[in-house]
Amino acid sequence: MTLTYADVTSRYEPVFGLETHVELGTVSKMFCGCSTEFGAAPNTHTCPVCLGLPGALPVVNEVAIESTIKIGLALNCSIAPWCRFARKNYFYPDMPKNFQTSQYDEPLCVDGYVDVEVQGQTFRVGIERVHMEEDTGKNTHVGGATGRIHGADYSLVDFNRAGIPLIEIVTKPVPGTGELAPEVAKAYVTELRDILRTLGVSDVRMEQGSLRCDVNTSLNKPGEPMGTRTETKNVNSLRSVERAVRSEMLRQAGLLDAGTRIFQETRHFNESTGDTRPGRSKEEATDYRYFPEPDLVPVEADPDWVEQVRAALPELPAARRARLRESLGVSAEDMQQLSNAGVVELVGQTVEAGAPIGEARNWWLGYLAQKANEREVDAADLGVTPAHVARLVELVADGTLSVALARQAVDGVLDTGSDVDTVVAERGLKRVSDTGSLEAAADEAIAANPDVAEKVRGGKLPAVGALVGAVMKATRGQADAAAVKAILLEKLNGGPPGGGGVAAGGVGA
């Protein structure tokens, strides 16, 4: 008998926790001056320091410290007046020094929280710590069928990514979310992403790996202590965060029901099936031999400076949502809908760019949501910006575009990356309402379809649709369909009967 999710939540209480890695958007690396630009030729952004050459020494990037402090403050953390880096020792060929310079027991930011709202309930996700570390290089295994090291003929190492600043945001275990655990986990990462984007400290592109999560999940029976947790590594989409929690809950409940104990282990998430599979067992975990990094002096963040950073923080998403709701006059229900779709910010920015709230809402919850869904990206990563949408609304309002044409313009923006006006100009999307050319097209359609024309003349008015279609095709959709219909009826019957019936199709400004 298959275990349902309802079975799981009726018998077990889930606890989840997240470790989120974020690549900071600094110009230079964490401990040297090399560029962090994405996509450069392998090993071109390297120097003795990030290659770990004998004798080279690290120096901390102050911008990365400032970014981390901003993040800590935005997550309601305390900023340590004194903190240190540590070495995490392990061997891997993409790690130049064979230790990672990281923060261990003395992180920069500790003890904060983020409030998230799911289905009208607010959940507080505690933040244990925010700490800094450096990324590793990247191995490519050449030859062999799987792209894995086993069976490869040789391996190539690219150190461009080695030393890029990473921060790790670790939550406390989050109990008490019950059946909403997967949604709360997703809502937390969504909120985190919005905060990071608002702070401007990272481009937070999950698909490029600049934000990636490890998801810890455990189950316990009500009233009993927390169960053994598993850690699902490198989950890199919002949807996958939710699925990873849900699938681990189902898997663990199956084991617990069967009386099997849960092993503390690392698991890998399979994006296509939504399942997790086992990785290395935590019980034989490496001894990292942490010790304070002797090559770096401790970081001492001056409290006055921290207060300056705090004062200069931008308005954060939660405050912004409250303000938007107030100023836009959006209902709580609408706000929830926008929030669930992850488009509050986008709608707000679209309104700020000049669009009315109703239009902004309709675009982001309608055609753009559909496109984002088709492309399996978040609306914010779609490539259509609030400014684009505001311009579309404007063009529709002034009659330059029909809604159908505006949708074609969106497709053009998605295809080319150009802005709306460029797409409209290049694709000739302007609505044709000049009567002369429409009349000529109508005459052509009538001449090309004498039998249809005859039916209309004979009183079968709905048949005019075929002729309208022919005109629209001939004008590549740029004609105003209502106008075309009117012209055709006039030509065939001397005018629309009853003076109406042309509004069908809902096309128009």
């Binding site: 003795p48 290659l51 770990g52 050459l53 004998p54 004798g55 080279a56 020494l57 690290p58 120096v59 901390v60 070495r87 020792n89 061997f91 060929p93 130049p96 020094k97 064979n98 230790f99 090291i149 190492v157 001894d287 990292y288 031999r289 942490y290 010790f291 002797p294 090559d295 770096l296 002096v297």
Partner: protein, 492 residues
């Protein structure tokens, strides 16, 4: 031109500046000396004759053009092979780096080049600076110019032998637990370990990051101070580099040479003498203290009760850090690679390379350090050693309330025979007994020759508070002026 190699660095620079001799002549005289005696000494691992002559020519050209020369322009120098030199072999005395030519210069290399100091080549050393005798070099031991059957100290033994043997008037060494001071003492020259952070570590192949410190060797206190000023000073590439002006060490050396020591309080550290010290060393040290007193210094005895734990703490901290620092020698990017036959796994290649590339002392320390840092042992070993370090710093602080400088023998022994202690690591480690406290505390200390025992040099160690490097030079210069100079026997 035998007299050219016997000049001090200060005199050499003066003669070059006035045009009395050319920098090229000076460089050539030293290259000839190296040709003549290095077969016996083995102070150098690599001699860069072309580079030295080119650098000397540049100094001569600059002088001919009427440009101002920096104080040591044209003076030859021997560089310890732990310091990276662009396009010149840098092996750190290890097989694992055989043939490696770094793509960059260490900060001190750059400063030396910028000052017009002429680098003759790279000197022999204990592998990765681990040792007190230069017998741990993968390329064979260096011999002491005073007695070729004896060690020149270590790990900077190649540098000390080069200076004592008149192959170079100046040399760079590095001191982690005493590796400048002890070789200076046993070869009868001057060597100074600056305050930790006073000289950049950027480009020094790390042994123990929290202890490693580069410093100067010379045959006189003034020469040593002149080189100190060239290499010291804040370096933004080294986070632990001190952002303060360099102590006025040259002025202090000149001042010391022409004045007595009235008003100076000298503390004799009770814990750095007694049983375990050679009687000849103690006799020489006692005589040195008498000399200081005769120069007007007030001599007091001070106690530093935690110094007895310095050896134990050092031999946990240094190996711990080295186990991490040496992890990068993994056959992936540079240096030796063994077993890469398409069958061995990555782990096997790393393991075979490290087995073949590291000598026994390096392996011993990596293993000790790995153990000391491992979870469950960290607190008992590394953590405890760091606490001892704090206590040693407090001992120094208390002692410097009673005295301006502290003195002790630099080493409990004179140079011992090559091979004599190889089989007994503990007997080897006690060489550093006197030098370790200042290393752990990061305070400056100098070794200056103070006499002979059994015909071999003995060193006087003078220690000062952090950043007061100039005090070491001032007292050392006054002492040097008051005692006869030591000259090693002529090498055949």
């Amino acid at each position: 031109m035998d007299e050219l190699i016997r000049l001090t660095a200060a005199d050499t620079a003066a003669k070059i500046a006035t045009g009395e001799v050319s920098a090229v002549e000076v460089a050539q005289a030293h290259l000839d000396r190296i040709d003549a005696v290095d077969g016996a000494l083995h102070a150098f691992l690599h001699v860069d004759a072309d580079g030295a002559i080119a650098a000397a020519k540049a100094v001569d050209a600059k002088r001919a053009a009427g440009e101002a020369l920096s104080p040591l322009a044209g003076v030859p120098l021997a560089m310890k092979d732990v310091v990276v030199t662009k396009d010149l072999p840098t092996t750190c005395g290890s097989k694992i780096l055989q043939g490696w030519r770094p793509p960059y210069d260490a900060t001190i290399t750059r400063r030396i080049k910028d000052a017009g100091v002429v680098m003759l080549g790279k000197t022999n050393m204990d592998e990765f600076a681990m040792g007190s005798s230069t017998e741990n070099s993968a390329y064979g031991p260096t011999h002491n110019p005073w007695d070729l059957s004896r060690i020149p100290g270590g790990s900077s033994g190649g540098s000390s032998a080069a200076v004592a043997g008149f192959e170079a008037p100046l040399a760079i060494g590095t001191d982690t637990g005493g590796s400048i001071r002890q070789p200076a003492a046993v070869t009868g020259i001057v060597g100074h370990k600056p305050t930790y952070g006073a000289v950049s570590r950027y480009g020094l192949i790390a042994f123990s990051s929290s202890l490693d410190q580069a410093g100067p060797f010379g045959r006189t206190v003034l020469d040593t101070a002149l080189l100190h000023e060239v290499i010291a000073g804040h370096d933004p590439c080294d986070s632990t580099s001190i952002p303060q002006p360099v102590a006025p060490v040259v002025a202090a050396a000149r001042e010391g040479a022409r004045s007595d020591l009235s008003g100076v309080r000298v503390g004799v550290v009770r814990e750095l003498s007694g049983p375990g010290y050679q009687s000849g060393v103690l006799a020489s040290f006692d005589a040195a203290v008498q000399t200081l007193r005769s120069l007007g210094a007030e001599v007091v005895e001070v106690s530093c009760p935690h110094f007895e734990y310095a050896l134990a703490a050092y031999y946990l901290i240094a190996p711990s850090e080295c186990s991490s620092n040496l992890a990068r020698f993994d056959a992936v990017r540079y240096g030796l690679r063994v077993g890469d036959d398409g069958v061995n796994s990555l782990e096997d290649v790393m393991s075979l390379t490290r087995e073949a590339g590291f000598g026994p002392e390096v392996k011993r320390r990596i293993i000790i350090g790995t153990y000391a840092l491992s979870s469950g042992y960290y607190d008992a070993y590394y953590g405890q050693a760091q606490k001892v370090r704090t206590l040693i710093v407090r001992d120094f602080t208390a002692a410097f309330e009673q005295a301006d400088v502290l003195v002790s023998p630099t080493s409990p022994f004179v140079a011992f025979g090559i091979g004599e202690r190889v089989a007994d690591p503990m007997a080897m480690y006690v060489n550093d007994l006197c030098t370790l406290p200042a290393s752990l505390a990061g305070t400056p200390a100098i070794s200056v020759p103070c006499g002979l025992s059994e015909g071999l040099p003995v060193g006087l160690q003078i220690m000062a508070p952090a950043l007061a490097d100039d005090r070491c030079y001032r007292v050392a210069a006054a002492f040097e002026a008051a005692v006869p100079a030591l000259t090693p026997p002529e090498l055949s």
